[in-house]
């Protein structure tokens, strides 16, 4: 009877659950495509991809002196903000993560490792609104005073907070990669007279490079999709600029800022879905890339 139940009910049920995730993914894709589809009919895609201004509710006066809706949906300032904040966050996070990973894999005594590793993983579980809160209350005022700039809500403050959010992801994966380097390589290096530092920097880290690289790329996916933190800390300026000390508005923050009040079914609404589609394409692309790099072991 027990066997009968597990064979005929539980198995298909589990299969159904596994299938559900596929259904959700397909549903998200279909929704994004159908909701952003009209946008590319209403608005010139070339202007979307090359536009440098984001004025979703702008009105201008036509020849008759009437005010007509003339929105500007330029992707570049928002995409630029997303990339700047993300890359800067990874630049900050990488040395910290790599150092922590090497320490955990090679230097820390097992007891210490057993304590630190779960703690780092715990960091990954902190809700992003808490990170955003800390960014607003501690990081932004600190950056404001440090650089003597008029406002602390800017790209750099957001990057610092995002770096801490990416830290556990990158550390954990990089540590796995370093631990997975065959013992022979390490022992051979030590036997040749290389000291510990030389072994780590010339043998272990280079051997684990594909794993470390894919860790960084997964960190990228984690950071570029982050919304609450950048909404609270990045400042929200939509100018196309390459100054991380100015307020920036990444794509995720734009969607969160404007979706609530965009007229449903209007061009603005569709434009925000188009942004979401871009984000999905970017994160999906990078996840696939990370997967390939990890498997290929270049």
């Amino acid at each position: 009877m027990a066997r009968f139940t597990s064979e005929t009910i539980v198995k298909p049920l589990l299969g159904f659950f596994a299938l559900l995730s596929l259904v959700f993914l397909a549903g998200i894709l279909v929704t994004l495509l159908t909701e952003s589809g009209p946008f590319f009919g209403e608005y010139n895609p070339l202007e979307f991809f090359t536009g440098t201004q984001w004025y979703p509710t702008l009105e201008t006066q036509n020849a008759d002196g009437e005010w007509v809706s003339d929105p500007q949906f330029g992707l570049l300032p928002l995409l630029g903000a997303s990339l700047q904040v993300t890359i800067l966050a990874l630049i900050i996070a990488l040395p910290l993560s790599l150092g922590a990973a090497v320490f955990l894999a090679e230097i820390a005594p097992p007891v210490l490792r057993e304590i630190i590793k779960p703690l780092i993983e715990l960091l990954a579980g902190i809700p992003s609104v808490v990170f955003g809160f800390i960014g607003m209350v501690l990081v932004a005022p600190f950056i404001k005073d440090l650089f003597d700039i008029p406002i602390g809500l800017n790209g750099l403050s957001a990057s610092i907070v995002l770096a801490f959010m990416a830290f556990p992801t990158i550390t954990s994966l990089a540590e796995d990669a370093i631990s997975a380097v065959p013992r022979d390589l390490k022992e051979a290096s030590l036997a040749m007279g290389a000291n510990r530092w030389e072994t780590v920097s010339r043998v272990l880290v280079p051997s684990a490079r594909s794993g470390i690289f894919s860790a960084v790329i997964l960190g990228f996916g984690r950071v570029i999709g982050e919304t609450m933190t950048v909404l609270m800390v990045a400042g929200g300026g939509a100018a196309l600029t390459f100054d991380p000390l100015s307020p920036l508005r990444p794509m995720t923050a734009t969607i969160a800022l404007e979706m609530g009040e965009a007229v449903q079914g209007g061009p603005h609404y569709h434009a925000l879905f188009a942004l979401a589609l871009m984000l999905l394409a970017i994160t999906l692309g990078f996840n696939l890339l990370a997967e390939r790099i990890r498997k290929r072991d270049f």
């Binding site: 979703p56 509710t57 932004a140 406002i151 939509a238």
Partner: protein
Amino acid sequence: MHKYSTIPIALTLVLGMALTGCGGEGNGEPSEVVTLSVNGSTTVTPIMQCVAEVYEAADLEVSGTGSGDGITALIDGRTDLAMSSRKMKDKEKEDAAAKGVKPVEVVIARDGIAIVVHPSNPVSGLTLEQVKDIYLGKITNWKALGGPDAEIVPVTRDSASGTFEVFAELVMDKEPIVPGAVTQNSNGTVRSAVAESEGAIGYVGLGYVDKTVKAVAIDGVVPSEDTVNGGTYKIARDLNLYYPEGASQAVLDLVKFVLGKEGQKIVADEGFIPL
């Protein structure tokens, strides 16, 4: 002192981000009540949604589609009541006359926008033109306005919000705001961004002004309930309902309710100025 003072601000801010409800309790199972549709301004929508929760004589279907859409819907007979954060335009009046609709205007509340700066800022009055120039990026230093030699940080709202709409119309004459302006998604976060930065300037609904920021006089008039109601404070507007002449008793009753004590309390609770 400075470090600690930020914590309560940020706390209220995070709490403020949670959805604000109307506090209306569900009403039993009303039988055979009429359904009225209410369309239009997103600024007026929260008032009417709260009214819908407590009003029992009719079921209200409230949708915030923008003032223009609400008025068009009224003219086309697609809605019973239109919400509008501006007066009807001449063109709309002509359209209505052509279709034999005579809209009746009812002012249900007033909405004032205060221009706020950091409390330490010595500038206490600006002209409307100066505020506009700041947000156009033409004036970038407080020195030009009689203040200290410090960069001005303009703080604005997300461009789909009702507050932004008033500001864009009454201050900016619909000209685009400098794109690098700090953008926040609520009155509360604008206030805290201004409270945190000595050089910042922002705009918030009158109900959001507290001692963490300083409201400046515009063209010599300090914003207050009195100056808004008296019409001397410039950055203010009426919030209106429109219904067609000859509307049903249910519509008239609803308008009466909004203008009454309970309706006006909702107006005040939502951060607007009651009549």
